[in-house]
Amino acid sequence: MNRSTAFQFRAGTSFFHRLDPLTKLAWLVAISLLAFGAYIAWVQIVITIVVLFTAFVLARLPLLVVVRGTWLFALACLSFLVIQTLTLPGNHVAFHILGHPIYAESADYALASALRIYTIILSSLVFVRTTDPRELAIALVTQMRVPYRIAYAFFIALRIIPTIEEEIKTIRAAQAVRGVVHQRSVAGRIGEAKRYAMPLLVGSLRKASMMVMSMEARAFGAYPQRTFVEAPHMSASGITVCVVMLALVITWYAALGLGYVHSFYILSA
């Protein structure tokens, strides 16, 4: 009954929800490739804007969900930005803070690397939140020819993560009642992990063996193939998204290779 985690599938009717899982996977891979292309701030700003647009408009994710899912990473990115801006060397002094010179190269690089991490986290959130893991598993089997046992193993792993999270919360509460204080030191955390391990292991093994019995009793694994009553397929809009993303990735890497793309401070110089 606790507040659910933001990184969890929620059914919806947005454009992005309706896309098939493989198209969304292609989108995620393409965004990551675009973001990893180069440390150039203006490019990363454009990519971030595109991902934010997808999150809020195409996937209609509530602001609260995006904030809850990414605030910790946003904080980390912000600290990277500050530290790198202040410490990295450069040639062009952009401005001074308290007499300390801030170089255009370091500020550009710091902003680019901070945004890159944030973009990848945010696009993963959009993907996870809008994609039913079961549909993804089925798509992998029916469209990518992945063996169904492997695809189901992947799906069940995703399916039981929230159950294990819930179990850890219960164990933490149960042990807090015993007078165990939540530890912050490394040694304390190791001790804590040791105390959690046994009950968690016992509980997980019991659940896992129950799942195996439940699946086997319903003929899972009896034949090399199985029927999928509802298998997702790529719609026209899915194909369009894939083509656009592919074109963007090719164009981007071609432009990089040919030396057409430069940082803002070089463009303005």
């Binding site: 893991p133 165990v180 105390r195 799942m211 009793a217 029927t227």
Partner: protein, 632 residues
């Protein structure tokens, strides 16, 4: 969405072969099987001289078990924990010996297929298995996917699968639930999905292992109604292990009782519940079989004892209306009497101490728009035994967690000995309030029983000699002294439960909160735990707050009941008053215990008599015996 059918099943029928002997049959067995001439075609289950030990274990869990179940039977299996009930069920679809390996002797065939040479998957169309925990057995996240799962694995065509899926959901009363997420369903609904998921394959035999253990009474009633229909209308054979016999006794056709791996009784429900016997638990303690009897039968036996007329199997009532008729016969023609009515109260009166725990205007929700609790208020005095009742998910556990500051309560809403709980740490609160979690394993933090009990004292810096003295005393109270050096995880469930109580007890708290003390426990074990609670109350004036939907537990032990419904607290009073309010108990998903229903029906039939609605079985039997004696 497109339909994809892939692959063709190999002919399952090719696996049907002649019965295979798992171990050489003795001459006597051969002679026996020849004379009985059992026909395999109408036998759903045919086990002969089965013994089984889990892999790596020397002791047999099943000992020389022989059992035949004909098509259309509804078999209930009873027995103390560790008697081999669940193991027997796992044999019925080949999980034993194919998934859970071990040493198996004897002959076994189910639905005409020999167990040893038939894979578990090949039983999927004949045997449906439903387990206790819906969370662990449901694989998919959407209702329709779960119901289609088995037939998809069997490579049936998509159109047939969808049709059968609709039928199965319709049968369990979940028509139109196909697109729902599993996470949005109640416990009873989830368990009905589990049943639909096996029904889709139209099994001949349905095997259920305590399917209602995690459910509230309303959820339990849903499941039993579905099973009755399935057995009566569809003719499905059912074999089931279940502790909640009150609502089941008149629905089953046959009862088996097991004891230490053997079947010690096999007969009709009336025969089963007309004679008290003794079985032995895994801890080797004697358990009266009457611990599993329906209350209607217990009532008849008690009344028979008082009237000096033993009840035979033919006259044994199995439900409330039969028990009322039975009592009527005992009362004879007695009508009005001029004697003063017997006192109403059957429970010890509540202590009049000032409250040490006070909850005032407590509202709480993880999200502002979704309050789980609204405006809750009550006091707890010393030595009270309070039941906190309500449907699954009504907010009972959330309330208990707020009392313990596991979740932070709003300031000024919970006061412990005059101090605001919001200002206290979990460690400070746990000196005053002990919380026994549903699963004892979650609470263990050391590797040794003695250390486990000492832990709470040590973190509170008690002197070594004081620790030793108190641990010794508590080990004695919970009867675990002989296991002081064992690992907590090596104890049986009942012992682990007692150990988790002991870890709380050692701090001498004013209040013990028990979270669903009967889930996963048989009636006898729950009774032992409650007996321990009663002793604590007597000795230390400890108050007990039990979160439960076990109405017999409430009726027998609680002297006060709180009902949570829709996040509010619509009732705070005696259990009798709670069960007297039909609208309230329907709203809270409860069912009154049979003894209350029996007494209520008798009062309506005999107005002006000594009879009063009561939760006390001895009191009701005494009163009827008195009236009957007078008329005689």
């Amino acid at each position: 969405m497109a339909s994809v059918a892939a692959g063709h099943p190999t002919d399952v029928a090719s696996l049907r072969s002649a019965q295979v002997t798992l171990a050489p049959a003795t001459a006597a067995q051969e002679a026996g099987s020849g004379t009985e001439a059992r026909s395999a075609c109408d036998l759903a289950v045919d086990l002969r001289n089965i013994s089984y030990a889990y892999e790596g274990e020397t002791e047999d869990v099943l000992r020389n078990v022989s059992l035949t179940v004909r098509d259309g039977e509804f078999v209930l299996i009873l027995g103390p924990s560790g008697c081999g009930k669940s193991t027997l069920l796992q044999l019925l679809n080949g999980t034993i010996p194919h998934t859970l390996r071990g040493r198996l002797e004897g002959e076994a065939s189910v639905c005409g297929k020999p167990i040893l040479s038939t894979k578990v998957a090949s039983f999927a169309t004949e045997v449906g298995m439903v387990f206790q925990d819906p969370e662990a057995q449901i694989i998919n996240t959407r209702v329709r996917d779960e119901v289609c799962f088995g037939l998809e694995n069997l490579c049936r065509p998509a159109a047939e699968i969808l049709e059968r899926q609709r039928e199965a959901l319709d049968f369990v009363g979940l028509d139109g639930f196909g697109d729902r997420s599993i996470f949005d369903l109640s416990g009873g609904q989830k368990q009905r999905v589990s049943i639909a998921a096996v029904l889709a394959a139209r099994p001949r035999l349905l095997v259920l292992d305590e399917p209602t253990a995690n459910l509230d009474p309303a959820g339990m009633a849903e499941i039993f109604a579905v099973l009755e229909r399935l057995n009566r209308e569809a003719g499905t054979t059912i074999v089931m292990v279940e502790h909640r016999v009150d609502e089941l006794a008149d629905r089953v056709s046959r009862v088996l009782m097991m004891d230490r791996g053997s079947i010690v009784f096999d007969g009709t429900p009336r025969e089963a519940f007309s004679q008290r016997r003794v079985a032995y638990s895994e801890e080797n303690a004697a358990v009266p079989t009457s611990a599993w009897f329906p209350q209607a039968c217990e009532f008849a036996l008690a009344l028979g004892d008082r009237m000096g007329r033993p009840v035979d199997a033919t006259g044994m009532p199995l439900n409330v209306s039969e028990a009322v008729a039975f009592a009527d016969r005992c009362i004879g023609m007695a009508t009005a009497t001029t004697q003063p009515p017997a006192p109403l109260s059957t429970c010890p009166s509540t202590a009049n101490d000032p409250a040490f725990l006070r909850v005032k205007q407590l509202s709480f929700g993880y999200e502002k728009k979704l309050p789980i609790l609204s405006d809750i208020g009550f006091d707890v005095g010393r030595g009270e035994m309070i039941a906190l009742c309500g449907r699954n998910g009504s907010g009972k556990t959330t309330l208990a967690r707020l009392l313990m500051h596991i979740n932070a309560p709003p300031r000024g809403t919970i006061w412990l000995e005059g101090r605001d709980v919001a200002d206290l740490s979990a460690r400070e609160i746990s000196s005053e309030i002990g919380y026994v979690f549903q699963n004892p394993d979650h609470q263990f933090v050391t590797d040794r029983v003695w250390d486990e009990i000492a832990y709470g004292l040590k973190v509170r810096n008690y002197a070594d000699n004081a620790v030793a003295e108190r641990v010794g005393e508590v080990l004695d109270i919970v009867d675990l002294t002989r296991y002081r050096d064992r690992s907590p995880f090596s104890l049986s469930l009942g012992e682990r439960r007692r150990l988790s109580v002991a870890t709380m007890l050692v701090l001498e708290p004013h209040l013990l909160v028990l979270d669903e003390p009967t889930i996963g426990q048989d009636h006898e074990r729950a009774q032992q735990l409650m007996g321990l609670m009663a002793r604590l109350r007597e000795r230390y004036r400890t108050s007990i707050l039990m979160i439960t939907h076990d109405v017999r537990l409430v009726a027998e032990w609680a002297d006060r009941a709180l009902v949570i419904s829709g996040g509010r607290l619509p009732f705070d009073g005696s259990p009798e008053a709670m069960f007297a309010d039909d609208a309230l108990i329907a709203d809270a998903g409860l069912l009154a215990p049979p003894v209350y229903e029996i007494s209520k029906a008798l009062v309506a039939k005999h107005p002006g008599s000594l009879l009063r609605p009561t939760l006390s079985l001895p009191l009701l039997a005494d009163t009827i015996a008195r009236i009957g004696g007078e008329t005689a």
